[in-house]
Symmetry: C2
Subunit: 407 residues, 2 copies
C-alpha cells in the first residue's frame, strides 16, 4: 500500500469536515448502519470500531489511503476529499490485519468479500431501479465436463421474456480479476442498466450471461499461491491454465447449456461477449479463437493482453492469426469491436488501451474507443461502458435475423 | 463475548493438533484460500494475518471462543476441538475490532457480512449439488406500495418449471434475525435440498419464495439503534414496526406479485409459510392473521413469540384469537403445523419451543415436533428442518387440487 499524499489528504479532510452539513448513510451500507456516510459534495466519512488498536489505516483501492484518527469512544474516523462517483472498494488495516468494514455490504473483489461505498453521480440514474419493467436474474447450475465440477452462472432475462415466445440474442459479460459471477449484478447493476435501456427503446431486449471467470480442468490441482503475486511465474502459470480452462468450459459447456436452457438465437450474429479488465482479456481470447461463434466484442478496461504488448506493438496485420489483416472483411465479419477506458485509470492501463486504439486506427480497423470521464479502474467506468456498449448490439445483421426469427 | 472454557479448549486443541494429518481447505473458503481447514474429525483450523496486533480472539457464534496464538510469520492460528456438522458463523476480534476473516466466503448474518466455515456431515449429501435436475433461483424486483421502495426476493423454481405448463404450490420461506433474503440459498442450500428431494420423488415440485424479512412503512424513519440492543424498548419498537410492515408487504404486495409473475396455484391449500428463528415468529404472525391464505405452517427454531411466553403459558383455547379452540376444526383447516428445534440450542430457545409443543399436545392440537440431534441455533438445524418439512407439504388436499389443476 502506498500512503503517499496522506498528509495532504488529512489536512484537506479536516478543512472540509468543518462545513459539512448533509452527510447521509451510503446506499451500500448494511441495514441500519449509520456509516459510511456520503455528503452532497461526494465526500465520504468512514467510522470503524477498534478500541484497543494501535494503528488503523483506511485503504481505498483506487482512492485515499490514510491513517484514521482515534476518537474517545473507541471508534476511528476519516473523512475523504470529494470522490469520483461510483462504487469504491476499500479495506481497513487494523494493526496489520487487512479487513472489511462490517458496516458495508460485502462485494466480491480483490479475491475477498471487500467493503465498498457507493458515491452517487449527480443526474445519473441509468443504473438505479426505476419505474420500468424489470427483468429477472436467474442463478443456474451446470455440470462441466471440462472442470469436472458443478458451476453456476447468473443470467439476466429481459422483462418480457416470460410473457413472450420470442428468441433473444445473448451477451456474455465477464467480471474482472479477483471478482466473480456476482459482480455485474451486485456491483455493476447490469440488470437495472439493461431494464432502463430497454424501456427507453434504444436497446434490443437481450439475455446476459454472467459466468465465473475462474476455471481449472478436471484433475488440475491449484498450487498454494501464498506469497506468489500477480506476475510471478507461479501465478502466471496458474492464470494460463485458468484462461484455457475457462475458454473450453465456455465454448464447450456453458454456451450449449445456455442455448438449451433459454430461448436464445444461437448463431454468431446474435452472440456478443464483453468483459472488464481480466474479463476483457478473456473476451479477446475467446472471441478471436472462435469468430465462428461471436460477432460483437467488447473490452472494458482490458482487451487482448495489453500488458504483454509493451515491447511488441500491436500489429493488425498479424494479430489474432490474421483475423484483422483485411480491414473491410473484418468490419463485415465483426459487427462491433469496442474498447473503453476511464480517463483516471492507472497510466499502464490507459497507455496499453490507447496504444491498441492507435494501432487499430492505423490499421484502419473499424472500432469504437470510449473514454469515461474522470473515472478510475472501477465500476463506474464499467457501468458507463455497458450503457454505451449494449445499445450498439444486435442492430445490424442482428436486427434482420431477429426479425427473421419472429422477434 | 464469553471466553469461559478457553483454557480447556486451548489445551484440547494443542493435543489434537499433534495427530492431525488430513486437514483440507473448507468448501466455504474463497478461491485459492488455504485456510480455514477442516479435518476428518471435524476439527477446524483458522489462520489470520495480523502482524502488529496485540490480541486476536476467535469468536464462533455458536462454538469455541478463544484467544488465537501468534506465529512467527505474523499469522495467528487456532485449532478447535471437533465441531458439529454444518455452517458455523464466526468473526475475529483484532485488538477490539470485530471483523470477518478475508479467507472465508461472506454470509449475511448478525446484520453484517460474516465469516463461516462449512463442516461436512459424514454420510449427508442431501444439501449438496448432485447429478439430478436443478431448479433455478431467480432474483426478482417489485415496487412495494407498503414500503414505498423497490424490494427484491429470491424465487426457487423447480427443475421442470420452464418445460411445463403446470401450476405449482408455493412455500414462503423466511431467514432469521440479522440475516436477509440471500440466506436460504447461500447458507441453507434450500435449492439443492429441494432438487434432491424432488428427484427422489418424495416431495411435490414447488415454488419457494425467499423475501427480505425487514420492512418499514413508507415515510417511517428508523432511529439510530447504536447502543440499543435486542430487547431494549427502542429496539422492540422498531421490531414491531418492521413485523407489521413485513406482514402488510407480504400479504398486500409480494403474494399478489408472485401469483401474477409465476404459474402458482394461488389458493390457501397450495400456500405454505415457514421461517427460522425471527422468520418463525413472522410465520406464525402472518399465517394466523391470514388463515384464509395459508394452510401449512412451519416454525424452525422460532414459532409465535416464544420469548414473550415465559410468564404466560401458551393456551390453545385462546391463542391466535381462538384459531385452535376446536382441535378437530383446526386440524381440518391447517394441514400442517410443524415446529423444530436443535437439541443443542440455547436453553431459553429449547425451553420455549418445548413448552409450545407440550401446550399443543395438552390442547390436542395435531402438529409435528422435530428435534435435530446435536445441532445448535445454526443452519444445519434449519437444513434438516427443511428436509423434514418440505415432503409433508401439499400432499393431502394439495395433491387433489393439484391434480384438478392439471399437474
Amino acid at each position: 500500500m502506498k500512503f503517499i499524499g496522506f498528509a495532504m489528504l488529512l489536512a484537506t479532510s479536516l478543512c472540509f469536515a468543518q462545513d459539512s452539513a448533509d452527510f447521509k448513510p451510503a446506499t451500500s451500507n448494511v441495514l441500519d448502519a449509520q456509516y459510511p456516510q456520503v455528503d452532497s459534495s461526494s465526500r465520504v466519512q468512514i467510522r470503524f470500531k477498534a478500541p484497543d488498536a494501535t494503528k488503523v489505516k483506511l485503504n481505498f483501492w483506487s482512492g485515499p489511503k490514510a491513517d484514521m484518527e482515534k476518537q474517545a469512544d473507541g471508534f476511528w474516523t476519516f473523512t475523504t476529499p470529494a470522490m469520483a462517483p461510483g462504487l469504491h472498494y476499500y479495506t481497513i488495516n487494523v494493526d496489520g490485519a487487512e479487513v472489511s468494514d462490517p458496516a458495508s455490504t460485502a462485494y466480491f473483489g480483490g479475491s475477498k468479500w471487500a467493503s465498498a461505498v457507493e458515491v452517487p453521480e449527480a443526474g445519473a440514474d441509468y443504473y438505479l431501479p426505476k419505474d420500468v419493467p424489470h427483468g429477472q436474474v436467474r442463478q443456474v447450475w451446470y455440470h462441466s465436463s471440462v472442470t469436472g465440477a458443478w458451476r453456476d452462472a447468473f443470467v439476466y432475462l429481459p422483462p418480457d421474456y416470460d410473457n413472450s415466445k420470442a428468441r433473444y440474442p445473448v451477451l456474455y459479460l465477464q467480471h474482472g480479476g479477483g471478482e466473480d459471477e456476482t459482480g455485474w449484478v451486485r456491483q455493476g447493476k447490469a440488470n437495472f442498466i439493461l431494464d432502463n435501456l430497454i424501456a427507453g427503446g434504444n436497446t434490443k431486449p437481450m439475455i446476459i450471461v454472467m459466468a465465473n471467470g475462474y476455471a481449472t480442468r478436471a484433475g488440475y490441482v491449484v498450487p498454494d499461491l501464498t506469497g506468489k503475486p500477480f506476475g510471478s511465474p507461479e501465478f502466471m502459470k496458474v492464470m494460463q491454465e485458468r484462461m484455457g480452462a475457462f475458454e473450453d468450459d465456455m465454448v464447450q459447456v456453458l454456451i450449449p447449456f445456455i442455448d438449451k436452457t433459454f430461448r436464445t438465437i444461437s448463431d454468431r450474429d446474435h452472440r456478443a461477449m464483453a468483459g472488464l479488465s481480466m474479463g476483457g482479456m478473456q473476451t479477446f481470447q475467446v472471441t478471436f479463437d472462435h469468430l465462428d461463434m461471436f460477432s460483437y466484442i467488447g473490452g472494458f478496461s482490458g482487451a487482448a493482453n495489453v500488458f504483454a504488448m509493451g515491447n511488441n506493438k500491436f500489429d493488425t496485420k498479424t494479430a489474432f492469426n490474421g483475423a484483422m489483416a483485411d480491414p473491410a472483411a473484418f468490419a463485415k465479419r465483426v459487427h462491433l469491436l469496442w474498447i473503453g477506458v476511464g480517463t483516471k485509470e492507472p497510466e499502464r492501463m490507459k497507455t496499453g488501451l490507447e496504444a491498441l486504439h492507435t494501432a487499430l486506427d492505423e490499421g484502419k480497423i473499424q472500432h469504437v474507443f470510449y473514454e469515461s470521464p474522470g473515472t478510475d479502474h472501477e465500476w463506474q467506468t464499467w457501468r458507463r461502458d455497458l450503457k454505451d456498449f449494449a445499445p450498439r448490439l444486435f442492430q445490424s445483421s442482428g436486427q434482420q435475423s431477429a426479425a427473421a426469427h419472429g422477434m
